[in-house]
Symmetry: C2
Subunit: 455 residues, 2 copies
């Protein structure tokens, strides 16, 4: 699938010239001659990026950009606006309206193409947009947080005077904290890391801003921060490389404070949105591995973790104990006392079992009233003792029900110890399951140990 | 937190020189004088990367590397091996043992540092390792698939003769498909994309391999492929930039086929592992949004999607209908016929409701016996008709139980239509809930419509 770019310009020649360039770069270019036509096209079939003329007769670029940003269907499409005249107020309005960049003609083709690649890459900040579009919507219903905390911008140049000058130029236009830092301080990792780094073209002797950017991107504390490079005014090739290296923006070294303040705020907002999206994804992942009732891990999480434990035990030449625990006569609780009582029992049993484990042991709810426990680095004898303790912990005291009553519960435990060679989690669990059946058959409320190996 | 690098070398001077360089680059360097010492250190406290001498007296680099790769605790740590002599067989054994790179002294510092940054960045292929270490384990229990399908390597150089020469050199050492392609074909996107691109330093006039790499990385079809750049032999600065730009490897233009075959296979294996990891994460995300019993979306997914629908309805000046549906007297099913019967009823009702919807409508299980349906772009009258049809679909035929019996079920539906201004999903659902209470109070098995707005 070729990436598709929408060109919006009222002058036919301009559209054609851009289309030729984009086609040569293997993009599919579609064209619109006016703002309303562009909006209709973008809503019907959202392009991957929009190149938007600033000055058009019936609806100017700012109005088009604002309309794109207001519509959920088009609000995430990257927009590059361009114009013939370098009017500072226009630039600022365009960026405020949500343009990702604002370029002044004549536009350097290398920079334009690098900017296009850069924005297309930046769309997929989590690496999942393509596969799981739906997830993008998660959290949409959250309040957008119109009033974010002030951000933190770190300024880093070869000479402190330069960084101090940047701070002086930017400070009147920003509420964010502006701090002048050294390269070592940046790399040793401030916690929390700044939201945005603004880096000079050359830092220490032999260390360029681009190298520093790659360095920040390779370190866990700073890898998600936004980064701007300040480059000499006509350094087109360097600007293109910087954008390809992942710079979020490139600035001229005589930059205008008001304009860069708007760019900085957009970058900080984008960075925070990406942080929130990553946090939501991580939370989704956590939920996919958790049993919502007891808060224990679920089967899906437990099996691979057990797999690693078993591999580790083989490496360390120790045993790993696996127990499958099943609450005795649990069905009667649900039938006689209702689901709320059943849930209370499961939660309390989960709590009692967890309290009896060592750090590093694994506990999971396999489903229904069945639990899994794994204890690495343990002997037969210790494992049996541990299982006995867990059994007694469940039956020791009655469980109070929300209705005011109380129930005595017991648990049957099947125990198996890992063999000296690697055994899959499924096979070891099957051995523990076999032992559990024996425990049930022999009258419940007891621990039964399976044979040392099934094979 | 400073990134930590372990230096393993039996010659003290070599260790010190490397430590000075790494410290200057703001890494924390730890040192080991032998393989066993290195293994013990790495297991106790895994570093972010290991620099490993090839020739050591008691345990050589190859053995150390193999031991690192065999242990789950250390198998993912990037390893750069280095040596004094350019022995081709040694290089190949080192790569086969799992070294990520093999550098020959004198090592260019810029290239070494770029390689370190590159490998540290590459560790986090999904962007989640830091936050959700546990998830890395998902799928560990899966068979590792020792016999992967042959891969596909695309070769692209300025002149087809060059690419054909590469193919001739590589073919005897690989089972993978080797195809010579053009730039346009690569960018227009083959489906499926190759696993690995090998790109020349210069492609079409004015288009460098590095630009092409950035271009491939910015397009969805090719962004996850591995990419190698073939650079002139002493192009150290270019090699460093290529690694910072995200090249997975850089090759000399007189490369040795046997060695590059090993490198290519390692890259293809790494790329496929990253693909699998992404797929597992995407599956985890899908599961976190799905009700496991009915396969419908869950509440957590539905609310933000409904939020987007409602915002879209405001934009399009249409209404969105929201229904909350509750199975009548469902508790009796569980109590009288057991849980299996209850589950069968829920699954069948979910199926009947889904069958009555248009593409683009939303259906979710809110929990228990309660469902949510949203239908965008619909009038009051149409929505009421739709709800009536859904109500009749549930009660039209008895539901067959696994036990052989059959049950008649009915559903009560509360309906609300979105207001002209934006209303949150929660508020609209609350209005539908109010209507549902009325439907229940008036005798169940009916549709009740809430007031047009609550405010």
């Amino acid at each position: 699938m070729t990436s598709r770019i929408l060109i919006v310009d009222d002058v036919p020649t301009n559209r054609i010239i851009l289309k030729v360039k984009l086609t040569a770069a293997c993009y599919e270019a579609t064209m619109a001659a006016s703002g309303p036509e562009a909006l209709a096209l973008a809503r019907r079939s959202p392009p991957d990026l929009i190149l938007l003329d600033y000055a058009m007769p019936d609806m100017d670029g700012i109005a088009v950009c604002a309309a794109l940003r207001a519509d959920p269907a088009t609000c995430r499409i990257p927009v590059i606006m361009f114009t013939n005249t370098a009017d500072e107020a226009a630039r600022i309005s365009a960026l405020r309206a949500g343009a990702d960049d604002f370029l002044i003609k004549p536009i350097d083709d290398k920079v334009l193409m690098a900017r296009i690649r850069n924005l297309m890459r930046a769309r997929d900040t989590t690496g999942f947009s393509a596969t799981t579009d739906a997830i993008e919507g998660l959290g949409f219903a959250e309040p957008v947080g119109g009033f974010d905390e002030p951000g933190h911008i770190a300024l880093l140049a070869a000479r402190p005077e330069t960084a101090l000058r940047w701070r002086k130029v930017l400070a009147p236009h920003l509420n964010d904290r502006l701090s002048v830092i050294t390269r070592a301080a940046a790399l040793e990792g401030a916690v929390p890391a700044p939201d945005l780094y603004i880096l000079g073209a050359e830092l220490d002797p032999g260390i360029s801003g681009m190298q520093m950017m790659s360095d920040l991107r390779s370190r866990p504390d700073s890898c998600h921060a936004a980064i701007c490079l300040v480059l000499p005014n006509d350094a087109h090739a360097e600007a293109a490389t910087a954008l390809d290296l992942g710079a979020d923006d490139v600035l001229r070294d005589d930059f205008d404070g008001a304009e860069v303040a708007v760019r900085a705020q957009a970058l900080i907002a984008r960075k925070r949105e990406a942080d929130r999206r990553r946090a939501r994804l991580a939370e989704s992942l956590r939920l996919s591995m958790t049993d919502p009732l007891t808060g224990l891990h679920n089967r899906r999480y437990a099996l691979p973790v057990l797999g690693r434990m078993l591999a580790g035990a083989v490496q360390a030449r120790t045993s790993c104990a696996v127990m499958v625990l099943d609450l005795d006569r649990f069905k009667l609780v649900n039938d006689r006392h209702g689901h709320a009582a059943g849930d209370t029992v499961l939660v309390e049993v989960a709590r009692r079992l967890s309290a009896g484990l060592r750090p590093g042991d694994l506990i999971a709810r396999l489903g229904g009233e069945e639990f899994l426990i794994a204890m690495p680095g343990i002997s037969d004898h210790e494992a049996f003792e541990a299982a006995e303790r867990l059994r007694r912990a469940v039956s020791a005291r009655q469980i109070l029900l929300p209705s005011g009553g109380a129930l005595s519960m017991t648990v049957s435990i099947g125990l198996a110890l890992s063999a000296t060679g690697y055994e899959t989690p499924d096979r070891l669990i099957a051995r523990a399951d076999g032992a559990l059946l024996a425990a049930k058959a022999e009258g419940r409320n007891q621990v039964t140990m399976g044979g040392r190996t099934a094979a």
